[in-house]
């Protein structure tokens, strides 16, 4: 019998270090797809209510600070660049640049959240939050605009926070040499997640701040 030649028992020890970078990225893309659909549900509702309350949406949108929104857009877009630079750096084996760029990305992300905090608190000071008397005195369409604004930018903010956590983990893995020039799919996937956060914002920004 030639059984032993056919058995894979000798490979057993390797079975779980089996690596498939394309598979890993495919899984990540599928996950990003579900994230898009999660926000897709919200965009659908935005479309329905925008259609229903065109004037109210226009008036309410003027209350948002375009300069704050623009600043945050610039911050987030730049952070997408730095995370891409970090990936290129690690591909070329430059650990220092990778660490530097990941740190910059995280700082940008935190700046985004700080801006968001000031933006939201300014609204809260004017009494504009769900359920407040000020809010309930507005026309229905404006209530809806602010409701969607808080839910969609809030959900996005939550994703920024999750993104920061993911980037921080990636940073640690790079420092510990777990992510290297010949095994960087984790960082690529982390980067993909961060680009998604950026991408969602690119749609939120014009829908809430720019269309008047």
């Amino acid at each position: 019998m030639t059984q032993n030649e056919h058995t894979v028992s000798s490979e057993h020890s390797h079975a779980h270090v089996h690596r498939d970078d394309i598979g890993a990225k495919m899984g990540m893309w599928l996950f990003l797809f579900t994230e898009l659909l999660l926000f897709g549900g919200m965009f659908l509702m935005y479309a329905v209510y925008r259609f229903q309350y065109q004037m109210d949406f226009k008036i309410a949108a003027m209350e948002l600070s375009v300069s704050m929104g623009t600043l945050n857009t610039i911050i987030l877009l730049t952070s997408s660049l730095t995370v891409a630079l970090a990936i290129t750096a690690i591909q070329k084996g430059n650990k220092f640049l990778a660490v530097l760029n990941l740190n910059i990305t995280i700082i940008f992300a935190l700046m985004f959240m700080v801006n968001k905090y000031y933006e939201w608190s300014a609204k809260f000071e004017h009494g504009l939050y769900p359920g407040s008397d000020e809010m309930l005195s507005l026309p229905n369409g404006q209530i809806m605009f602010y409701g969607l604004y808080y839910i969609m930018t809030g959900l996005h903010g939550l994703h920024v926070i999750i993104g920061v956590i993911i980037l921080a983990i990636m940073l640690v893995l790079v420092i510990k040499d777990k992510i290297t020039s010949d095994n960087y799919v984790k960082l690529e996937n982390g980067g993909l997640y961060w680009h998604l956060v950026d991408l969602i914002w690119i749609f939120l920004f014009p829908l809430f701040y720019l269309i008047h």
Partner: protein, 547 residues
Amino acid sequence: MANGTVAVSEKTFYEESTNKYSGILSWLLTTDHKRIGLLYLYTIGGFFLVGVVLGLLMRLELIAPGETIVDAQTYNSLFTLHGVIMIFLFIVPGLPAIFGNFFLPIQLGTNDVAFPRLNLLSWYVYIIGAVLVLISLVLPGGPIDTGWTFYIPYSVRTSTNVSLAIFAAFVLGFSSILTGLNFITTVHRMRAPGMGFFRMPLFIWSLYATAWIQVIATPVIGITILLVILERTFGVGIFDPALGGDPILYQHMFWIYSHPAVYIMILPAMGVVSEILPTFARRTIFGYKAIAYSSLAIAFVGYLVWAHHMFTSGISDTARWIFSLLTFIVALPSGVKVFNWVATLYKGSIDPKPPLLWVLSFIFLFSIGGLTGLVVGSLATDIHLHDTYFVVAHFHYVMFGGTGTIFIAGLYYWFPKMFGRMYNIKWANIAAALYFIAFNMLYFPKFILGYMGMPRRYFDYLPEFTTLQEISTVGSWLMAITIIIIVTNLIHAGLKGKKASANPWGGVTLEWQTTSPPPLHNFNRHVEVNHEPYDFSQLKELEYDSK
């Protein structure tokens, strides 16, 4: 000879673990897809029995008009929990998470899924969701009483623990998504050499289609559930007409997920049918490609029919006839499958073992369920039948008669492979016969009751409905006895059954070409596929003992 033989001395996956632990930890920390499949089997099976008990209580309440054993509010909670547990904890994860986990890698000829650790995480996420459901039962406020559809505005106004219970559904959705993307990646990346897409067993095709629906549809229910929770917590007004919101929009968002979800429930069952039929007819499946493509067609069209749940909610006539038309179109790929299954039996060498008997039951029950679906999918008849027992009967014929029957068929089919032991065939046959009688006794009267005007979700009814309600309740007892026989037979077999051979049924897909139970890495040889999936000319080489 060298091809199919297996060294007897090899350890099974029960004796060899993926981690350094032994005992319970070797299971709780396992990344072996087979052990994870079994973890799912025990937990999902447990929740199924809980759901059965809730159903029995409801049937007992309905044995006579007026209050019998529970009050109206308790009854509201009973049907909600029965629905939530049966749908989110049993049928949606049932076949993919148990049999999909166990057999997808084996049927593909590989050693595990693409992301084994993510697979274990999915199980834990499922458990967290299940625990949240249980916690919501005992917290002050009382168990959720909205029905499993959580319709606005009641779900925002009721004081019961809606937020926690629906958050549990959100968490369970997460588990579903993770399993889905794991399976899609596995199918694309891990097929054995020679296994092209059109050499995959049809169970894999159906899991693949299901996984896509899980990935595409589940996030929509996720966001909808989050919005209901936000409504309850902050009163944002998205669905509240007083603040300019639209409660019908909730129904749209809910059914955009929940209608495709019924295909998540039924497609894997259709896949199992396509496995069992060729094995016991000893011939290849009729119309392999038609069945494979019809799975994808159902997944695709099923995504576009959601508003047929809302014909009476005041949507426009144009929307109604479009959705009605699309609903009829889904019947086409489903019909393709049924005809192909029946044609597979034609001139086959039929071996009426228990799994086949359950499949025959399934074809009958599912056809009734499917055809009555067309009755409620037609605009004019739906106005009369909407929210009556007719819908309840239709739903149970499709879900229980369809997926539930096949869940048991799958258990009977794969039990010898999963546990390496054989159950008592005679008792399995008795159970199959009893099941068929009990099922029709339990649910067929509901069609008539619904037609006569008995509304769903009522704990009381008019005296003229008594006889049919009684027949249905007696049917539920017979069903309980059947389930006890099935469970006892299987548990007894698991502990004391006689050893099963590697290929007790004469199947030819890859899971029958390894030991029962399989070794840790599924095969003790290098797997290469050079046959169509249901090519029975291989049977001679596979040492099938037809006794």
